[in-house]
């Protein structure tokens, strides 16, 4: 069993484009979960040449939905919440992926060792890292897969 990005990355992934609306991106999130058989909480954003230009995660969507003034809501306990989430989703739905995607990207190469991957995940608080070779996306390493790999290793060591 190898211990590099190549050994644990997912090779099947869906991507979204910067000019897609958030509404369209949310449909891809749903389809990606169905297609890959695992819950997808983050997608890679690629340009027309297929180059990685950003990432869009569940947190980006949360930030977009969170009302601007929620920090003062504690003072307004009588606030009527009816329709607020639907309104926020409607408003967010029209925005573009390129408006909110994260562009400060962390990537690895296929030979990056598992221990480096764990270090990056801890230091940068990221749960998924794209694997790039010669400017091309080869796959993506998910935090859950890293943990699965450790579980297997623990098992083998115990045996």
């Amino acid at each position: 069993m190898g211990h590099t990005a190549r050994d644990i990355m997912e090779r099947t992934f869906m991507t979204i484009q910067p000019d897609m609306t958030i509404g369209e991106a949310m449909t891809v999130f749903r389809h990606a979960s169905e297609a890959t058989g695992r819950r997808v909480f983050g997608l890679m954003v690629t340009d027309y040449r297929g180059q990685l230009v950003g990432m869009l995660s569940m947190y980006d969507i949360f930030l977009l939905i969170r009302p601007k003034h929620i920090h003062i809501w504690g003072e307004m306990k009588d606030l009527d919440f009816t329709g607020m989430i639907a309104h926020a989703c409607q408003k967010a739905s029209r925005m573009l992926v390129g408006d909110i995607m994260t562009t400060d990207l962390i990537t690895i190469v296929p030979d990056t060792h598992l221990l480096y991957i764990i270090d990056i995940m801890l230091k940068k608080h990221v749960r998924r890292i794209p694997v790039i070779e010669d400017g091309r996306i080869l796959g993506i390493v998910y935090i859950s897969r890293v943990f699965d790999h450790l579980l297997e290793t623990f098992q083998t060591t115990a045996d």
Binding site: D60, D78, M84, D99, I100
Partner: protein
């Protein structure tokens, strides 16, 4: 009412009672495109710019980004090129009144909170934060409409503040065919955050805010395009005699910073009410706290 009365309302309150502890920041090397995205995503009006070891060196506001768009700066420019510095600070123990005075004196919309020069920034104080604290008084006050469920019959409706008393009684309007160049020039000259656009018949049809302009900048849209291509619709309005309390709650619901105010008919705009106006007024939702200060 006198200036002294206004001061009573926030008496004894400190910056730390109202400040937010999450501060949005970027390094000096971040690009303008990243600054635009950060403002859109985090819904903030300014970003603290930090150098090595998180040392704050400047601030980039929506106005600064709009000016960069106007000046034709490439989105690949580093934020250090346009930031304004150094940031203005206050101490968590400063009185809210002093902080508001400082904001007014320097005509700025926010102060960063720090224990002293060279210390890390621990928070930010802006006008909506002060609205929050004013509402805390309303909740504790018997005279407030917020306790109307309990004793509606005791509520003195004449004591309630109306939108008209707090709004900015002036509104800058442009035709929807106006180019983004002119919209930006107008917003900068009159220091407004947004402008309602009117159709050929003079009715308001949309609004262009600084956020819409920053989004246009990020989309690399030419400032030659007419405002109607980027304006948000519809224009949210309220009537000038509505209760301040109700309208502020509506602003919060719609996740907006301002609402346009009309007099008789929705097409006759006479002013604008923003959360900043509500904060500058230094009062809650009714006259009661102008005369009897509620203890925090």
């Amino acid at each position: 009412m006198t200036g002294q009365d206004h001061r009573q309302v926030l008496k004894g309150l400190r910056v730390q009672d109202a400040m937010r502890r999450l501060v949005t920041q970027l390094p000096t090397t971040a690009l303008l495109s990243e600054a635009c995205r950060t403002m859109i995503k985090y819904k903030v009006n300014a970003i603290l710019i930090t150098a090595d070891q998180q040392t704050p060196v400047g601030v980039v506001s929506k106005t600064d980004l709009m000016t960069a768009y106007y000046a034709g700066l490439p989105l690949g420019t580093e934020v250090a090129q346009i930031m304004v510095g150094p940031p203005r600070y206050c101490h968590p123990q400063d009185s809210l009144d002093a902080a508001l005075d400082q904001m007014r004196e320097y005509r700025i919309h926010r102060l960063y909170v720090t224990l002293g020069l060279g210390e890390p920034v621990s928070g930010i104080l802006a006008f909506p934060d002060i609205v929050g604290i004013l509402y805390r008084f309303c909740h504790r006050c018997d005279k407030s409409l917020l306790s109307r469920g309990k004793k509606a019959e005791e509520t003195a409706w004449s004591e309630q503040l109306s939108v008209r008393e707090v709004m900015t009684p002036d509104v800058y309007i442009l035709p929807e065919e106006t180019s983004l160049w002119e919209v930006m020039g107008g917003l900068a000259a009159y220091k407004f955050g947004a402008v309602p656009m009117v159709g050929a018949d003079g009715r308001p049809v949309g609004v262009v805010s600084k956020t819409d302009l920053i989004t246009a900048y990020l989309h690399a849209l030419s400032p030659d395009v007419p405002a109607r291509t980027i304006m948000s619709t519809p224009v949210l309005t309220c009537q000038q005699d509505e209760l301040l309390l109700d309208v502020i709650q509506r602003l919060i619901f719609w996740d907006l910073h301002r609402i346009f105010v009309f007099k008789d008919r929705p097409e006759t705009l006479v002013g604008v009410l923003s959360l900043s106006d509500a904060a500058r007024f230094r009062s809650g939702s009714c006259r009661a706290c102008l005369v009897s200060r509620i203890s925090p």
